[in-house]
Amino acid sequence: MAKQGVVPDSLSQPFWDAANEERLVIQYCLDCDQLQHPPGDTCRGCSKGDELEWKTVSGRGTIYNYGVVHDCPVRLLQQDQPFNLAVIMLEEDPGIQMFSHLPGVPVDDVPVGAAVEVIFEPSANGQLVPEWRVVAD
């Protein structure tokens, strides 16, 4: 699905730079030994900012939940309605979630609990965006 372009800001620059290298990185607090997503200026666990770094993760996860979007506020996505919008849980930490349109999965026929792996899709301005596809058994 066509996605709006992305212009990295200072907080998210490492996430998007890694995506352009087809790597998935997630913010990580050294002090709490916890991943954090979406990223923040400080850790939501300990409120510190200087203990945050970025950690490469496996890019494996499972489908936690989904809905089917029929009435979308984003103009560019309206041509693709209805579409799946799923939430992925990362293998390293199921408390960390990422969104996915689940390319290739029929609308409203989403295998909740299925294994997925990260792929990278170009957005409107060429910035690669992490997406997820179901892993064949």
Partner: protein, 440 residues
């Protein structure tokens, strides 16, 4: 005078705080509502500032208080339903010139400051305390109750208003652009509408407990029925249509499993109340409704969206906070009146309260029993946002009016209205007020 935003000290966020120190010593007396409309028609007399003045004046008159006796004003500054004044769109000079304007030309049109209200309500000549409660009436009510209890004001108005402009809401700005800034893009690239998060929690709930979206129909029908008996509400005023199971279930999906009716309709509205100390309230025109407690949740989800586990943990914690500070139990609730916009999270609030002993996963079955205002277990007698449009105010007005015995056609008849709780909005992140017909 610049108006501060309420600090954390005004809220009761934690468990273990004990009985609220001002339990029974603060009361709500007057209620005021301006007429609703689907959208602003552009006239000065219907702008969000004008309808706020209308609601406030009605609350003052309803309480039978002289305006110069009022010394406090709590305001929710945000008034948008999701509609913003588009950048570059010419300012409505005829409207601006109809009022005493603040430095912000959109004050009273697309937002509301305490200063704007005071400049345009010269009769409020003795207001010395003003404060903002962010977002919702539920929040502002907590601030008002605490302020009166703390003696920051003895007779205090509180107002929440909403503006709704032409055009489809949320579709302008970043959502119409070619590119998004990197951090918001992580969540906003994907196109989930406002009800998406709630829809997912509901989907997980249905999977976990073996429930279905169809099981919402009795709640929706009951809510609209009650809303049509709310003369201050949008559906009663403009579209007196019942919402039977067939109409509800046939409506189009927005974010399946949330359909059109699971999303509340954005409207122009304003609601206001007059609070006072219990002593002063005793001499006012309406029966005082005493505040036994207020409680808040500011819990955030760990990642993008709250999981069902996070929701259930937090609604249960909210229930405990509500009861602890009020010195009551679930058995004391005369009826259930928590927030419902989106309808698909109402059951989380209800189950967190343990209303009538209901446990997690049981609310949708409970909806199939008698939840009417005539029965022994009234659910959402206000009709909520489902019954009267987007305001996040109806359940508060209803609690006050039910306990005063002047809810009219909505008056509960199967129970004696004695103690109630109302609040919201979200299961994770909300503010709640406990109301009582008696101070003890």
């Amino acid at each position: 005078m610049t108006t501060p935003i309420a600090t954390d000290a005004m809220y009761r966020n934690d468990e273990g705080m004990g009985i609220w120190e001002h339990r029974g010593k603060v009361a709500a007396v007057g209620v005021g509502h301006a007429p609703t409309a689907r959208r602003w028609d552009g006239r000065p007399e219907t702008c969000v500032g004008a309808i706020s003045i209308q609601a406030l004046r009605q609350a003052i008159a309803d309480a039978g208080v002289a305006p110069d006796q009022i010394d406090g004003l709590v305001v929710v500054r945000e008034t948008t339903t999701g509609a913003f004044w588009e950048e570059g769109k010419p300012l409505p000079m005829d409207v601006i010139q109809s009022f005493q304007q603040t430095d912000d030309p959109l004050d009273g049109i697309a937002k509301l400051s305490a200063e704007w209200l005071l400049a345009n309500m010269p009769e409020l000549s003795n207001v010395k305390f003003t404060m903002y409660g962010p977002g919702c009436m539920s929040n502002a009510l907590n601030v008002t109750a605490q302020a009166v209890g703390d003696g920051l004001a003895h007779t205090c108005l509180v107002v929440k208003s909403w503006h709704n402009f032409e055009g489809r809401y949320y579709q302008g700005g970043a959502n119409a652009g070619d590119a998004l800034p990197g951090t918001p893009a992580i969540t906003q690239l994907w196109g989930g509408p406002a009800s998406y998060s709630t829809a997912l929690q509901f989907a997980e709930y249905c999977r976990k407990y073996g429930k279905t979206h169809e099981m919402m129909a009795p709640f929706m029908e009951n809510s609209r029925r009650n809303g049509l008996r709310f003369p201050e509400g949008y559906w009663a005023q403009h579209r007196p249509e019942e919402l039977g199971p067939e109409d509800y279930l046939a409506s189009r999906w927005i974010a399946k499993p949330a359909n059109l009716f699971d999303n509340d309709i954005p409207i122009m509205m304003s609601g206001a109340y007059l609070f006072s100390t219990a002593e002063r309230a005793a001499d006012m025109k309406q029966k005082p409704v005493y505040i036994l407690n207020h409680a808040s949740s500011n819990t955030r989800p760990r990642s993008l969206l709250p999981t069902l586990d996070e929701v259930e943990d937090d609604t249960a914690r909210t229930g405990r906070k509500i009861y602890e500070g009020a010195g009551i139990t679930a058995d004391d609730l005369s009826f259930e009146n928590m927030y419902d916009g989106f309808s698909l999270f109402h059951q989380f609030h209800l189950e967190g309260l343990g209303f009538r002993g209901i446990k997690f996963g049981e609310a949708l079955d409970f909806y199939a029993t008698d939840i009417s205002i005539e029965g022994p277990n009234p659910v959402s007698p206000s009709g909520g946002n489902v019954g009267s449009g987007r305001s996040r105010v109806w359940m508060h007005t209803d609690c006050i009016q039910q306990l005063q015995g002047r809810a009219g056609e909505r008056q509960v008849t199967g129970v004696t209205p004695e103690v109630a709780v109302s609040g919201g909005p979200m299961p994770l992140g909300g503010n709640f007020t406990v109301w009582s017909a008696s101070p003890d």
